[in-house]
Amino acid sequence: MNIILIPFEKVGKFVLYTVDELGSIAIYIGESFISIPEYFINFENLIDQMIFIGIDSFWVVGLTGLFTGMVLSLQAYYAAKIVGVTYMIGPTVALSMVRELGPVLTALMITARCGSSMASEIGTMKVTEQIDALEVMAVDPYYFLSVPRILAAMAMLPVMAVLCSLIGIIGGYVVYVYFLGLNHITYIEKIYQYIELSDIYNGLLKSVFFGAILAVISTFKGFQTTGGAKGVGRFTTQAVVLSSVYILFADYLLTSILF
């Protein structure tokens, strides 16, 4: 009897856990944003976070974009050469970067760099009673810690995605012209011909959602942290893994709606 019930029990537990987790995230988002009209936005923290997520992430995002663009150009060349359409390498690189890889890779890199930092910083504050201390000092921790991070991520992700895509296109150009020895005018002309403004807008819109997802999940996991140093590690890992999975899931949903 038990053997028959075990799989149902596991499915039930998973469903309950998922519903509980999603409900908690919804309440958390509500509580975070309810504080905005009450206290207005904490601009000092917002600017700090925008610098952290944006300017400080430039190199990691730039290098990701550069190598991705270079490898895309190289891979596209092998396929395009067979059917004789090497002139399509530019649009392939540009469209892949702008519509898909720029926003997604930027979000994943910033999740790894900043999401982990958000979760561990807030998690450490939680286990060392610093969050309690903020509450006792009548400072809303959501207003003080969450809202600036969420808004900064939503504002900076599109900027970083544009940079990532642009550097990727430049990387593709370098390979196309200097390693493959193809015509640089064709690369640029064909990009202009095939890329549309809506590709860029939709890529930016995706980035705004990705920014919200990574910051909400990471700060939420920070606030959930219990269990000392080990707990900080565990919840930080959860933050990065869950953010990445939700970003990829949201990417599929948004791509099917927007494009």
């Binding site: 450490t124 504050m125 009673e129 610093q130 309690d132 201390a133 006792v136 000092m137």
Partner: protein, 247 residues
């Protein structure tokens, strides 16, 4: 006046507070003693609204704080200062910034006034010249004193101390106890101290209450406490393993 009425709280089916009733007198220091893990800190967190009870009321000046909205609760919290067990200093800020933090958040005063008030309270707690240090660069006793300075900076009506001498050597414990007494004489706050430091309890407390199995089993002046006939109180004060307290 702070009143806890029939306060109950359970964690995973274990009752930590069980219909607890207590009143804390104004301008007095009440020390609540009891076993480690006996619910003292839980009680303190209910008083400041960090935890919500399963049943019962927490009345601050006649207002049930659990019936308040977040913003109203924050207004009540401005009357409080709290010193945490390990200081709970914001570790990304210097000593100065930690003490100035409540001033910057709640008062619209000039930078000069902030500096004057911070340096004055740092002097009160004996931390002159330590203002530029980070919390990680100072000792446990100094962190507690910074915690006291931060809690006092808004001249609160009520001060809560969560095991202020735990983890300190006897000399530093005495320094902290004297600091609490001198700050109480200066600022005239209502003090609630959670402790299991018996000598410190008799030194600082105007009233002593003992929490045992989720309830207050004895309450009185230090003298009354010393002469108590309650076997649990007698065993706890003597620190003996033999007696009715279940280990």
């Amino acid at each position: 006046m702070i009143v806890l009425q029939r306060l109950s709280k359970s964690f995973n089916g274990v009752k930590v507070l069980d219909d607890l009733d207590i009143e804390f007198g104004e301008k007095q220091i009440t020390v609540v003693i009891g076993r480690s893990g006996g619910g003292k800190s839980v009680m303190l967190k209910h008083i400041i609204g960090l935890m919500k009870p399963d049943s019962g009321k927490v009345l601050i000046g006649g207002i049930d704080i659990n019936a308040l909205k977040k913003k109203e609760l924050n207004e009540i919290r401005k009357k409080f200062g709290m010193v945490f067990q390990d200081g709970a200093l914001l570790d990304s800020l210097t000593v100065f910034e930690n003490v100035a933090f409540p001033l910057r958040r709640h008062l619209k005063i000039s930078e000069k006034e902030i500096k004057d008030r911070v340096f004055s309270v740092l002097e009160d707690v004996g931390l002159e010249g330590q203002d530029s240090k980070m919390p990680s660069e100072i000792s446990g006793g100094m962190r507690k004193r910074v915690g006291v300075a931060r809690a006092l900076i808004l001249n609160p009506e009520i001060m809560l101390f969560d095991e202020p001498t735990t983890g300190l050597d006897p000399v530093m414990s005495d320094v902290i106890n004297n600091l609490i007494i001198s700050m109480h004489n200066k600022f005239k706050f209502t003090g609630i101290i959670i402790s299991h430091d018996i000598s410190g309890t008799f030194k600082t407390g105007d009233v002593i209450a003992m929490l045992y199995e989720g309830r207050i089993i004895e309450s009185g002046t230090p003298e009354e406490f010393k002469n108590s006939n309650n076997p649990v109180v007698k065993q706890f004060i003597s620190g003996s393993m033999e007696g009715p307290i279940l280990i």
